[in-house]
Amino acid sequence: MKLYRSILIFIFIIFSITFAKVKVVVSYPWIGYLVNEIGKDKVDVFILGKGTEDPHFIVPKPSYIAKLRNADLLIIQGASLEIGFIPALISQANNPKIQPGNNGFLDLSKTVDLIEKPEKVSRAMGDVHPDGNPHYNLDPNNIPILANAIEMKLSQVDNSNSSFYKSNLQIFLSKWNEKLKYWNEEFGKLRGSKVIEYHKKYDYLFTRYGIEIVETIEPLPGIPPTAKYIQEIISNSKSLNVKYVIVDVYNDKKAAQYVAQSIGAKFVVLPQDIGALPNVNDLFQLFDTILNLLTK
């Protein structure tokens, strides 16, 4: 009996130790990175998606439901990017804290200005996002806004450590803003360059730095290209002096490589999140790698 009791107490202690940290579940690695930078050892982060996966098609595995069951905070990228899996997960998580509208839920897309918001939507336009382009995390100038929003939410959920989060935020921001000057200068040198991208993924980056997107390999968002469409792209962009044909790590590379060859552009695979390529382990390395690949 005594053994039983001590085992039970031991189990409770283990549980309470893990309860001491704020359990945060996030949809993508870049969000997880920011939460870890601001929360450090006071947060326990679980990331649903991997950098090597297409963010639109994360599968709602039952094991994710268990992670959400215990979460204190759920942070999503929003703008319908997670519409295929997050609603199914939170409706089965039996956790009132993380339901949209409650304190433990944060939709980061509401904290930044979204571009390319369509006036009217129809699925005949492909897989469009009615709120605008959801990939706002790929403009390094947006990161401070997002980091601020995350700190505010962490402080709200875990008030006792608010000053800790605020000071970590300041440390991160000073590092980031320093790097931002460098990136703004270097990316700025690409102003006027023309690119073709597979999916409308890097629009925030390109819009910020005046890089012109002349075509997408996808005829419509989420629709794979046909051979005929590939020929159209080639004939339309042959004379435009396109510098790069850009794909994500999970896209089919053949079509894009063929286009690049045919129009004399450089084929490049860009990382769209932490973990997409080796040596992309944090947000600094993410933008450094993108810069390197676009200035070779």
């Binding site: 595995k61 409706s91 039996n94 009132p96 339901q99």
Partner: protein, 438 residues
């Protein structure tokens, strides 16, 4: 004197007229001012939307998520589907879809949050003959660890039971579901309480208390049978069971090993049965039925778009009670009925690129033991079915599937008839985005 009086009169009248005139003028001027002001306002009211009061009570902001999913198919068989096909020991009827073109269903899904405490899900199935409420239930959002589901819903018994048809990997339901529960499966009115353990591993447990409307294995009406086939005897009433009649319990767990995700579990369902097919099939049953289910799903994700998945379910059904039939002389006979029937299906589906999938499903009955008054009826056990499917998904919202199958579990009189089945199936979804299936 008279002249003075007249002049005075004239002056007075004039003066009064003058006064009146002045009054009238000032009044008129005021009126004109008013009218002028009014006209300004009225012009503004006519063209300024802010002052209009249309749509004050418009509540379109609260429109729920609405989607419609429609399923069409072209079906062909090597026989005329009107022949009387059945499976010994199971009393299924009309196992084949109509030959040619079918509008299988148009499913209307509506869901939204009711308030901070509940979400409501509504699924109505429209086909050419009727409208059915497939599901209409509310779930709690504010309980920690627990969830209450109340209404009419697809039971969480087994793996495929709770999934809507458009999520199935094949155009037909597995044979064991068809035989034990019909393709409507366990779709009942009642309440479910589930508890998700606070562990790092997904462990879901739950119980359901349900009405027990599924007549294939349960049923909750009373049965009235005449002791004579020609109706000249007395009516025997077999009372309906106490309702709610069906109890379901389940426990499921899931874990990941790298890119492999596994979901497995046990379920069981127990309740009284009232099955009255005495007119059509000369068989009625009243007694107790227990269903046991083991499920296993293993999905290996090769990359963002490709996976290989294996899924299997094993169901065992045991029934004990009385069966009724008319003998050759048209007299009702009551027997002691004791059955133990079981079977499984296993399927492999390979999604080899973003838009294409291929799948193979094997169905088999493993036990078909029916004892009437202690005597084993030696019913056939070599009952199986195979299906091969290939589907093309242009986007997440549309699907074209071709499926070829061999059904070796259907009998015409005493002969097993091998059915070759060809299905070309189309499925389209509009409106709000559905959840990606696991």
């Amino acid at each position: 004197m008279r002249k003075q009086k007249i002049t005075l009169k004239i002056i007075l009248i004039n003066f009064i007229c003058f006064l009146l005139f002045v009054m009238f003028l000032s009044f008129a001027e005021e009126n004109i001012q008013e009218k002028f002001k009014d006209r300004n306002l009225s012009i503004r009211q006519k063209y300024d939307d802010n002052l209009k009061s249309y749509g004050v009570f418009n509540q379109s902001a609260f429109l729920p998520n609405i989607s419609v999913i429609t399923d069409f198919s072209f079906n062909n068989y090597n026989i005329n589907e009107n022949s009387n096909l059945f499976t010994p020991g199971f009393y299924n009827q009309n196992p084949l879809n109509t030959k040619g073109f079918n509008l299988n269903y148009s499913e209307l899904n509506i869901n939204a949050s009711v308030d901070p405490y509940f979400d409501l899900y509504f699924v109505s199935s429209f086909n050419e003959n009727n409208v059915e409420i497939e599901e209409a239930y509310a779930v709690t959002r504010s309980l920690s660890g627990f969830q209450l589901k109340i209404g009419k819903f697809r039971s969480s018994f087994g793996r495929i039971n709770s999934q809507h048809e458009h999520v199935w990997d094949f155009a037909t339901p597995p044979m064991i579901y068809e035989l034990f529960l019909t393709d409507e499966m366990l779709n009942e009115k009642g309440i479910q309480i589930n508890y998700l353990f606070p562990s790092n591993i997904y462990i879901l447990s739950g119980i359901e208390l349900l009405q027990g409307d599924n007549e294939m294995s349960f049923g909750n009406s009373s049965i009235s049978i005449n002791t004579r086939l020609d109706g000249t005897g007395q009516d025997i009433l077999i009372k309906s069971p106490t309702k709610p009649n069906l109890f379901v319990g389940f426990v499921k767990t899931s874990f990941d090993v790298g890119n492999l995700s596994v979901l497995t579990g046990f379920s069981f369902a127990t309740g009284q049965s009232r099955f009255d097919k005495i007119q059509d099939q000369n068989f009625a049953f009243s007694g107790k039925t227990k269903l046991y289910n083991f499920e296993l799903t293993a999905k290996y994700f090769i990359d963002s778009y490709r996976y290989i998945s294996f899924q299997t379910e094993y169901i065992q059904r045991s029934r004990k009670g009385n069966s009724y039939e008319y003998d050759n002389l048209g007299d009702l006979v009551t027997n002691q009925y004791d059955s133990n029937q079981s079977g499984f299906y296993s399927q492999i589906v390979y999604r080899f690129n973003k838009q294409w999938r291929i799948g193979l499903q094997y169905n088999k009955i493993t036990n078909n033991s029916v004892k009437i008054n202690g005597l084993n009826q030696s019913l056939p056990v070599n009952l199986d079915a195979n299906y091969l499917m290939l589907d093309f998904n242009p986007t997440e919202f549309s699907r074209i599937r071709i499926q070829y199958g061999n059904k070796d579990y259907l009998f015409e009189n005493t002969n097993k008839k091998r059915i070759n089945e060809f299905i070309l199936q189309f499925n389209f979804a509009i409106g709000s985005h559905g959840a990606h299936p696991f």
